[in-house]
């Protein structure tokens, strides 16, 4: 094994795709990842001069310490979960929709139009119109990227990404220009919605959480039990196979991206009408990007997305309490979240691939 002279040069190690890991191994990897992330996060907390165990404790306590705390935690999960469900549809088709953020914003913009201009419509009519408009806004924004892809073969990752910035700056334009609140003494903002345009609270949280649960079920049924859902997975596996099977690939791409955007748009409606009661620059606040991580982490399983979204919001809500309790900058909380994500996502690599050292027989054959 050792000390013999090699005639061919080999790298120290190489990476090979791991064919099949046992269930036990996979659980092991992920447990290890969680443990390591907690240790590494703890080292970071220690480095900035706090007791890691106390800080972790505060995160959990902060997320659950009272009724309002739990309600806030659930509220955080709503846009994240819905948006993750949206991108899931596209990802299932291997269409890289990085535009959840922009689609959420466009949904919010379309819904805000009705909230601002028709505040005196019947409450339920108005909310329904806002939801439909929001779905339409997000859907069209998604469809735009799909249409370019289908027609001219543009790169959807870049296109959806760039559309995010256009959507965000559209909000900036609206709040500085045509939708500016005239009562704001020159401060550039959009007026607060009339209460009539706000989602009612059910159990202390706006009813977006019910929409979220319904969408979890619908997306699951759509992907697993409908013909269209089946078409999506076939197109995702191989477009040639899909064509051979007589599936109209372009149509499936366009339809799926519209739906993907529409769901993200609904997340936007929940945000403006349930939480913010206005349209502001922070309407998406990175949710569209976190949703991508959530969707992947859950391997595009709707039920899992619900669970992981809630875990993310525990982290989010708890970190906020950590900021005020320990006087930490909110950036520290972001670093902590980043460390935890890094390890958990990193573990996926080891689940699928293995390092093979020099001189050992790898999985190459």
């Amino acid at each position: 094994m050792t000390g013999t002279v090699k005639t061919t040069k080999e790298p120290l190690f190489h990476v090979v795709k791991h064919a099949e890991r046992s269930g036990r191994q996979m659980i092991g990897f992920r447990l290890l990842a969680v443990a390591l992330s907690i240790v590494a996060g703890g080292l970071f907390i220690l480095a900035i001069g706090h007791n890691p165990i106390a800080v972790y404790g505060t995160i959990l306590e902060g997320a659950f310490r009272s009724k309002i705390a739990i309600q806030s935690t659930v509220k955080f999960a709503i846009p994240l979960c819905i948006c993750a469900l949206g991108v899931t549809l596209a990802f299932k088709m291997k269409f890289w929709n990085i535009g959840g953020e922009g689609q959420l914003i466009m949904g919010a913009v379309f819904a805000s139009y009705f909230a601002l201009n028709f505040p005196h419509w019947n409450h339920w009519v108005l909310l329904l119109v806002m939801l439909v408009a929001g779905a339409l806004g997000g859907g069209l924004w998604g469809l735009l990227a799909a249409a370019f892809k289908v027609k001219w073969g543009t790169n959807e990752t870049l296109l959806t990404l760039m559309l995010n910035y256009i959507a965000l700056h559209l909000v900036s334009y609206l709040q500085a220009g045509p939708w500016r609140d005239p009562e704001a003494n020159g401060f550039s903002k959009i007026a607060r919605f009339d209460k009539n345009a706000g989602m009612d609270k059910v159990l202390g949280v706006h009813f977006g959480w019910i929409i979220m649960l319904v969408l979890v079920a619908l997306v699951w049924i759509y992907l697993k039990r409908s013909k269209q859902g089946y078409e999506i997975s076939v197109v995702g596996e191989s477009q040639d196979t899909a064509r051979y099977a007589g599936i109209h690939v372009k149509k499936v791409v366009l339809r799926t991206m519209f739906l993907s955007g529409a769901i993200a748009g609904i997340a936007g409606v929940c945000q403006v009408s349930g939480s913010d009661m206005t349209l502001s620059m922070g309407v998406a606040g990175g949710v569209g990007f976190t949703a991508i991580i959530v969707a992947w982490l859950c391997q595009l399983n709707p039920g899992m997305i619900l669970v992981v979204s809630l875990l993310f919001s525990i982290l989010e809500k708890g970190s906020s309490v950590v900021q005020s309790t320990y006087g930490l900058s909110s950036d520290c909380a972001d670093v902590l979240q980043g460390i935890i994500l890094f390890f958990i996502l990193g573990s996926e690599f080891f689940v699928r691939y293995a390092f093979v050292g020099r001189g050992k027989k790898g999985g190459a054959k």
């Binding site: 007791n51 959990l60 309002i68 705390a69 003494n185 939480s275 913010d276 992981v308």
Partner: protein
């Protein structure tokens, strides 16, 4: 199979976090432990709240640890109040870096302070106003005290601000005597239709005119209360066009730093900015918010203010000590500045004279005349004669 594993992963994550939490929940924070049910203490008595039951919440626009500028100045005021009244650290909960252009962030910060059991919440930035108004309605047992805006409800949502224009007028004297090019720049957070900023510019320009009738004031707007880069760039543009004293109504020391870099002078705002730019800042227009914060919290303790029944708006001035002018930078100021400022300041403090008295006619730069009462600063949407807007 994979899904089940993922589910297990998620569960493990939750359990392991829970385990960490469980072992330390008792030792973590006294402040959070006491606050399970919110504001329960506030609703019952109808009288004052005992000092030891007071919990103060604060929402800051940026991070006071910057050591200068707007949030720092408010934090100094809060710390002053804590000392004056004798509150302990765990009676204070602060949310920092809460962007006033992010409605969700404002909502979340205020909700968390409610949840912490705060009896009185100070929201320091203009953009928090609408959310404060809505929260005050939802939580009538908590006092929401909002700085610099104009809305209030009389029962648990008030507004606090002051006659900062008095100090601005005095600082205008320093600028008017110092300028050599007779061109004075002014970095403004908001445009002409924002009465707070515009009345301040007018007071400053009137101070300038009182000692130097030839000097003109050039205003450049950043459209943001807090924009470190934009504020500095605006000042640089003004300096490039020939201004040699830079006044400011924005949150950071950027304009003063720009003045120092280019070898000209400036007048700071909020905190004493001669700390930031010792070779440029002649003086600074300052707030001593501890004057208000102390009085507000004392009112809650005394039962003068009771959430759900009565709170008053607050509008302080130089006589109260809420509005101050930093020590003049004697190495930099023109001769005679101190004497002139002292003379006018004495008249203002004694009430003998004020910049905006509601009677004196003031000419604007379009040829119209106005009168302005200081407390009505929000209605001021015109610039005085020697003010010019710069694109």
């Amino acid at each position: 199979m994979k899904k089940i594993l993922s589910l297990a992963l998620a569960a493990v994550m939750a359990v392991s976090l829970a385990a960490c939490g469980g072992s330390t929940a008792s030792g973590s924070t006294a402040s959070t432990a006491a606050s399970g049910s919110t504001a329960a203490s506030a609703e019952a008595t109808g009288a004052g709240i005992p000092k030891e039951d007071i919990k103060v919440g604060v929402v800051h626009l940026s991070d006071p640890a910057e050591g200068t500028g707007y949030s720092y100045t408010h934090e100094q005021g809060i710390q002053g109040m804590m000392k004056n009244i004798g509150l302990s650290e765990d009676q204070l909960v602060e949310k920092i870096n809460v962007s006033d252009t992010d409605a969700a962030a404002v909502q979340n910060a205020l909700t968390e302070l409610v949840e912490e059991g705060c009896n009185i919440i100070f929201a320091t930035s203009w953009g928090y106003m609408d959310t404060c108004e809505a929260m005050a309605e939802e939580y009538p047992d908590i006092i929401f005290s909002h700085g610099t805006g104009y809305k209030s409800n009389g029962t648990n949502f008030n507004n606090y601000f002051g006659r900062i224009y008095q100090a601005r007028y005095l600082s205008g004297i320093a600028a008017g005597l110092k300028t050599e090019s007779d061109k004075i720049g002014y970095v403004a957070a908001m445009g002409k239709d924002n009465g707070e900023v515009t009345s301040g510019i007018n007071a400053f320009a009137m101070g300038v005119a009182s000692v130097n009738p030839d000097a003109q004031v050039y205003v450049k707007v950043t459209n943001s209360w807090f924009d470190p880069e934009g504020e500095k760039q605006a000042a640089e543009a003004l300096i490039a066009s020939g201004c040699d004293v830079i006044g400011q109504h924005c949150d950071t020391a950027g304009p003063q730093l720009a003045a120092e870099e280019h070898g000209v002078w400036g007048v700071g705002y909020n905190s004493d900015m001669s700390k930031d730019a010792p070779a440029a800042t002649l003086t600074s227009v300052m707030w001593d918010w501890s004057v208000y914060y102390t009085q507000a919290v004392q009112n809650v303790i005394d039962g003068t203010w009771v959430a759900g029944e009565k709170v008053d708006n607050y509008f302080g001035d130089m006589a109260d000590g809420l509005v101050t002018l930093a020590d003049l930078n004697t190495d930099l100021i023109a001769e005679g500045t101190a004497e002139k400022i002292d003379e006018v300041k004495a008249q203002i403090v004694s009430g003998e004279w004020d910049v905006f008295d509601g009677k004196t006619e003031i000419k604007d730069n379009e040829g119209n005349t106005h009168t302005l009462e200081g407390a009505d600063y929000g209605s001021c949407n015109w610039y005085v004669e020697n003010v010019h807007e710069q694109a």
